[in-house]
């Protein structure tokens, strides 16, 4: 007879969360009595079968989806609103790869916090007891005047992707050329004679299109390649992402793959890593062949519809592939590659300028792919009036992106950040920050980009913000960070709120803000000097667009320069903190406080 099963250990084991000590406990329990191994196996069998059943259910849903928009578009009579297609896809795919603001589509639970700010503001207007109105949403006419208009082009349900990269592109129809940073509605077409275009889907999937090609963005989870070559990298949250070709379709199962379509409409599917499902289809989108599983380093060709696809040799050179950045040796030695780096922007390495006038305007600040950071969440600004400038000798002679304090800002594509984080920013305030009459603080980084969340309760993840105090403790050029945690008893609540003394204009600094929910502590360091520590008690993890250079939705613009910005999805250990700080210090020639005192304090903080 088996001893009472330690279900806590079973759960931690199957979730990969078992501590070394608990491993020993579990092993000891399994061997303690003859029936225990069977009891453990029974429990694990139930989990395995649960996985089987759920996966079977998911695949059934994926496979029974309706044809994507592009296929429907081939038939003039078959018009279908883009949002309906996306909704249908989301309803089936969401189970494994839900995109957070679409959640209300498939649950009976209260709608999430994805309501637009305008609605949020109306709902919150009754609350007179306002501490810091900028966080929860504008509540009166004056406040609403300070609210930014929508992100260019708005963010309706039909936004499916963004054009995040162009390299030597010649468009088939110059009149149909699309600028970098532009958002792509469902049905958008990218037809190139030559060059490479990068499309980042809202689901997180990235497609690299190599000209000549003709590609349609169907929705956040679908693309259609009519002709040419596309390579796709799909993160976990884009599980089930699908590429349709004239005579085949490919369903991602967490992978990197390429699809090539020749002049005759024949398709090749090449899998670089992971696996995909593939099958033949006809031009009406009807599925014909059996699903086949294609795994890494394998390729198949769909030619004659009457025959099964044939196995062919893989040829990765056919496709444009995502490249990890060539990071300088000094950076490789200093920036940890295994600490969940999520975003890395450096003004000297990854700024893309607008091609049209005025020159020196930044249209994209590319995420440097290095180490754990394998998906590029670039910061974009397609609106020329809101593009920041590139100042080539801004911070001690190094380049920086310059924000004018009135209109310029950048917005990343949706970026997943977690409860534990470390943010580094090299920046300096400009003279505009010291102009008389300022009453509101500006922000350098805000995690509540469009579509803005209404953080209505302190149980939801808060909004991390780096900048000056917004209102109550405002003093120009005081710099720090906080987690806006929502509203409690009619009042806005922020925590881990820490600021340094006013820095003044033209003073370059290295800010490090470390939020460690796991150990309930947060810290602010300026130039390696520990400014403050505060308890970290509320969740911060969220997938959202990050706004750089202003508040999430208010007109609180930063006047100054940003040379570099790194976000790690982990609370870095003291050694790593010090290493990154030293690297930035040398690069930007910024003097640090004596490291011993700061490091000791942070080490103690981490251990506690």
């Amino acid at each position: 007879m088996a001893m009472s099963a330690p279900l806590d250990l079973f759960n931690q084991y199957v979730d990969g969360e078992l501590s070394p000590a608990d491993w020993e406990l579990l092993e000891a329990w399994i061997s303690a009595e003859p029936g225990n191994a069977k009891a453990f196996l029974d429990w694990m069998a139930l989990q395995a079968w649960t996985h089987d059943a759920l996966r079977g259910h998911l695949l059934q849903q994926v496979l029974s989806e309706e044809p994507p928009l592009a296929c429907a578009a081939l038939k003039p009579d078959a018009k279908r609103p883009a949002w309906k297609t996306w909704a249908a896809v989301a309803a089936s795919i969401i189970a494994a790869a839900s995109y957070y603001w679409m959640q209300p589509l498939q649950t009976n639970e209260p709608a999430g916090p994805a309501a637009p700010v305008a609605i949020a503001a109306a709902g919150a207007a009754a609350n007179a007891d306002v501490v810091d109105t900028a966080d929860a949403g504008a509540r009166n006419a004056n406040e609403q005047e300070m609210t930014e208009p929508n992100w260019p082009g708005g963010l309706s349900d039909s936004i499916a992707a963004s054009l995040t990269g162009l390299r030597h592109c010649v468009w088939q129809d110059p009149a149909a050329a699309i600028g970098i940073g532009r958002q792509l509605h469902a049905g958008s077409r990218i037809a190139l004679e030559s060059g490479v275009a990068r499309v980042t889907f809202e689901s997180g999937a990235e497609a690299l299109l190599k000209g000549p090609c003709d590609f349609i963005v169907d929705n956040a989870m679908h693309g259609t390649i009519r002709y040419g070559r596309v390579s796709v990298t799909a993160p976990k949250r884009a599980y089930g992402f699908r590429i349709r070709a004239p005579n085949a379709e490919v369903i991602d199962l967490g992978t990197e793959f390429g699809v090539a379509v020749d002049q005759g409409g024949h398709s090749e599917v090449h899998v670089f890593s992971g696996e995909v499902l593939s099958r033949s289809v006809d031009r009406e989108g009807q599925q014909h062949g059996e699903l086949i599983r294609v795994t890494a380093n394998n390729a198949v060709k769909f030619a004659d519809p009457a025959q099964s696809p044939s196995k062919i040799a893989t040829n990765t050179s056919l496709f444009a592939r995502k490249r990890m950045a060539a990071v300088a040796a000094s950076a490789r030695e200093s920036v940890p590659s295994d600490a969940q780096l999520a975003l890395w922007l450096a003004a000297d390495a990854s700024v893309k300028m607008a091609k049209d006038k005025p020159r020196k305007r930044v249209v994209a600040w590319s995420d440097i792919l290095y180490g754990d950071n394998i998906s590029a969440e670039d910061a974009l600004q397609p609106d020329s009036a809101a593009q920041p400038a590139l100042a080539r000798k801004a911070i001690n002679g190094r380049p920086a992106v310059r924000f004018n304090g009135s209109s310029s800002y950048l917005v990343t594509t949706p970026l997943e950040t977690t409860d534990n984080q470390t943010i580094f920013i090299v920046c300096q305030f400009g003279k505009g920050a010291e102009r008389p009459g300022r009453k509101r603080g500006s922000q350098i980084l805000n995690y509540n980009g469009p579509p803005h969340r209404l953080v209505s309760s302190t149980y939801e993840p808060g909004v991390l913000q780096i900048g000056e105090p917004l209102a109550k403790k405002f003093e120009a050029t005081r710099l720090g960070g906080k987690l806006f945690s929502g509203r409690l008893n009619g009042r806005d609540v922020s925590e881990s709120e820490m600021y340094c003394e006013p820095l003044g204009a033209g003073v370059p600094i290295i800010l490090a803000y470390r939020y460690d929910l796991e150990h309930h502590t947060s810290s602010l360091l300026i130039n390696n000097e520990l400014i403050d520590t505060k308890p970290a008690l509320r969740p911060a993890g969220v997938t959202s667009r990050k706004v750089i250079g202003k508040h999430g939705f208010m007109k609180f613009h930063f006047a100054g320069d940003i040379g570099e910005l790194l976000i790690f999805n982990s609370a870095l250990e003291a050694d790593d903190m010090n290493s990154v700080t030293q690297y930035l210090s040398k690069k930007y020639d910024i003097s640090l406080k004596p490291p011993s005192a700061a490091s000791t304090a942070l080490s103690t903080d981490v251990e506690n």
């Binding site: 279900l7 806590d8 759960n11 084991y13 979730d15 990969g16 969360e17 078992l18 070394p20 491993w23 092993e27 399994i30 061997s31 191994a37 069977k38 453990f40 196996l41 429990w43 694990m44 069998a45 139930l46 989990q47 395995a48 079968w49 649960t50 996985h51 089987d52 059943a53 759920l54 996966r55 259910h57 998911l58 969401i94 189970a95 494994a96 790869a97 839900s98 957070y100 959640q103 649950t107 009976n108 639970e109 999430g112 916090p113 976990k236 949250r237 599980y239 967490g254 997943e416 950040t417 977690t418 409860d419 939801e460 993840p461 929910l517 796991e518 969740p539 993890g541 969220v542 997938t543």
Partner: protein
Amino acid sequence: MKFESRLSHDDGDADDDRTELAALWEQARPAVFAYLTATVYDFHRAEDLLQEVAVAIAGKFHTFDHERSFLAWAIGIARNRVLLYFREQARDRRHFSDATFQLLAEAAQQYPPEEGSPKREALRHCLDKTTGRRRRVLDLRYTGGLSIAEIAARLDMTNSAVKIMLHRVRAAIEQCVERRIAQEGRWR
């Protein structure tokens, strides 16, 4: 010799072999998958290993001694694959000792062939009744392969809330399956 007798098979015998193998594998597969999941604690990796075991079994079936238990033979192959996996591909991944692997293999070998089907049928019924956020957490963990932290970030929950929810929903499903099987037993 087995090999010689294999050479003497005509096409009809080969078809019989395939049919027999398919039937035996169908019965053994749930136990083999349970064993793999219990030892590598990663559903996707367990699935990959299951494929490898299936391929190995198909390739070696002509060496299978029909006097032995097919399940025991299959579990033996699975155990070797697991050991190879941890030795070559997942050196840094923590795993049970060889002795525990052996205990689990012995337990898996005792699985009655019919163990799977009523439980799986009951499980499907119980999963259909699991809806809303509980179902979403299950889907993200089991089919999406997301970690606790990733689920928490995706669903705007804390890590501990996700752990508690998974713990509870697993317990609820287990109880539901047991109730369902008991009810079906009464109806028969």
